[in-house]
């Protein structure tokens, strides 16, 4: 890297881009000698394409999308490298007022296992009555939102490919579609479920971390060739992003960070809503709140360090839902997307071993895909 390197990074307006947005806004990136241009994008497909052809040097990306691009699923095969986690968790499943009333009338709504079983009852009833199947929204086929929704409902006996409709929608469209009755529920990143609750059109049923305790949500992705050929650039970006993540995480910065993220060129929603998301104290229905400190994890100890087990887990979800076939080579390629080696070279530190752990179902050790997939009643097997 010589002189001021110009770096273009694409992002989608979501709170989980906070480490990147704050690193840019507070000058942490500039302090590394990088001249950063942030580009707010309208779709994940655009981000992927612009990253693939080099219009972006790096991007805020759905972790499963980095794996999909590397494996060539759904599009051209472009190997990507994810040398840092931007966010873990942060999603929520919200349902319409009408569906919530039906669920609550039928049983307990606190535990995802219970709501999934109730959902199965409602689905069966709708079918018997000849009514239209339920429709749920998520942001992209290769997203944790898709896998969280599917995992949750399948535990109750709902086959997401047969029993209801799942459609991909841009995050900012979810609330409006819920209000208009086009959607009965959705799983999306913050702040959109909170916006639905505030608008009085939805109820947050479950936090993402109630489905998967610790799932990799967003990464900073670069083309693998760039990541390997420009170690100085990667290291400079990682140092800046780690500073950004730590800044977001420091309680004394909460108000300032929320204000910055609320700007129209960043996330563009009320700072108060962003503050709720960052503290994990969300309004779930009217004024009623629920709190989980791990609702969205950005800067806490070792949260930014990539963990290859997360990529294996993502590959396993892809297999379960028939998005790809199994081969040991593909499993290795998927695992190779997340790059703790690059992180350690730039930042160092140790990995705190943490399980991904779902609320139910078999555990996954990253070795036996066959056993894991055989542990589910619904979904593909090897």
């Amino acid at each position: 890297m010589s002189g001021e390197a110009h770096v273009k990074i694409g992002f989608i307006p979501l709170v989980d881009a906070a480490a990147l947005l704050i690193a840019a806004h507070k000058g942490f990136v500039a302090a590394e000698g990088l001249d950063l241009e942030l580009i707010r994008e309208v779709s994940w497909a655009n981000i992927r394409d612009k990253l693939a052809i080099g219009r972006f040097d790096a991007a805020h990306l759905l972790a499963p999308m980095a794996v999909a691009s590397t494996l060539g699923l759904g599009h051209v095969r472009v190997p990507l490298a994810a040398p840092i986690n931007l966010a873990t968790n942060g999603n929520a499943i919200a349902v319409s007022m009408a569906l919530y009333a039906e669920l609550a009338a039928e049983g307990e709504v606190a535990h995802p296992g219970q709501t999934a079983r109730t959902l199965a009852t409602l689905v069966a009833r709708r079918r018997a009555e000849g009514r239209e199947p339920l429709t749920f929204g998520m942001t992209f086929p290769f997203s944790m939102h898709n896998y969280q929704l599917r995992y949750w409902m399948a535990e109750g006996g709902v086959d997401p490919d047969e029993d209801l409709r799942l459609i991909a929608l841009p995050p900012s469209y979810m609330v409006e579609n819920l209000a208009r009755g086009q959607l009965d529920g959705f799983c999306v990143g913050a702040p959109w479920s909170s916006v639905a609750v505030d608008a009085g059109v939805g109820v947050i049923l479950h936090f993402g971390c109630e489905i998967f305790e610790r799932a990799l949500e967003k990464v900073l992705a670069l083309r693998e060739s760039v990541a390997d050929e420009e170690p100085d650039l990667v290291a400079a970006l990682l140092r800046a992003l780690c500073k950004g993540a730590a800044y977001v995480d420091a309680p004394q910065n909460l108000e300032e960070v929320s204000q910055i993220l609320s700007r129209p060129e960043f996330v563009g929603v009320d700072a108060e809503i962003i503050q709720r998301v960052l503290t994990g104290r969300l309004r779930v229905q009217g004024p009623e709140t629920r709190e989980r400190v791990d609702y969205l994890i950005i800067g806490e100890e070792s949260a930014t360090r990539p963990d290859p087990r997360q990529a294996e887990w993502i590959y396993a979800q892809m297999l379960r839902w028939g998005q790809t076939r199994y081969s040991p080579a593909m499993a290795d390629r998927a695992k190779g997307v997340v790059r703790p080696d690059l992180f350690d070279a730039a930042i160092g530190g140790v990995q705190v071993q943490r399980e991904i752990k779902a609320f139910a179902g078999p555990s996954f050790d990253g070795r036996s895909y066959a056993d894991y997939l055989a542990g589910f009643a619904i979904g593909q097997r090897l």
């Binding site: 060539g72 051209v76 992209f140 459609i167 991909a168 086009q182």
Partner: protein
Amino acid sequence: MKIVIVDESPIRSLILQEGLREAGFTQVERIGEMHNLLKQIYAIDPDVILIDLENPSRDTLEQMFQVSRAVRRPIAMFVDQSDTASIQASVDAGVSAYIVDGLKKERIKSILDLCISRFEAFSKLQDDLERAKSDLEERKTIERAKGILMKAKKLSEEDAYKMMRGAAMRENKKIIEIARSVITAAEMFK
């Protein structure tokens, strides 16, 4: 061959539609309303889908590759591994194309090339329009500043202009910047 254009801009779609018709593609429809996008697409059942890159519904469209069970015919991306030049050209022009599996690549290539050139023509048209607008604004500002100087310093129109041009050269600024300062100053002296 049935072609669908997903674009919220009616003018751009018209330009594209016209180009496709000229090239012999007569079955071209436009979807300008994004609600129920998938339903509208299934109803038309197109062979080729063209979408503006700034349209957030691109992700909705991409999902169609995944849920082929719900679609009568599988839709695939036009691009193939070897064709990064096409992706680059279309991304730069701001358009993306999706086709039904099994269509001849050469035929699609001609459609995409046509789209790219029409999208480029459209954005050039917009740039020209913007430029014409700002040129007009600048001319008006300079005229106003000239008028102020003529009145205040009892100058001819030509001398007033020369005075501003001289100041612009001395200060290494554009004449429009000098004109704006003249107007600001005059307003403060009112």
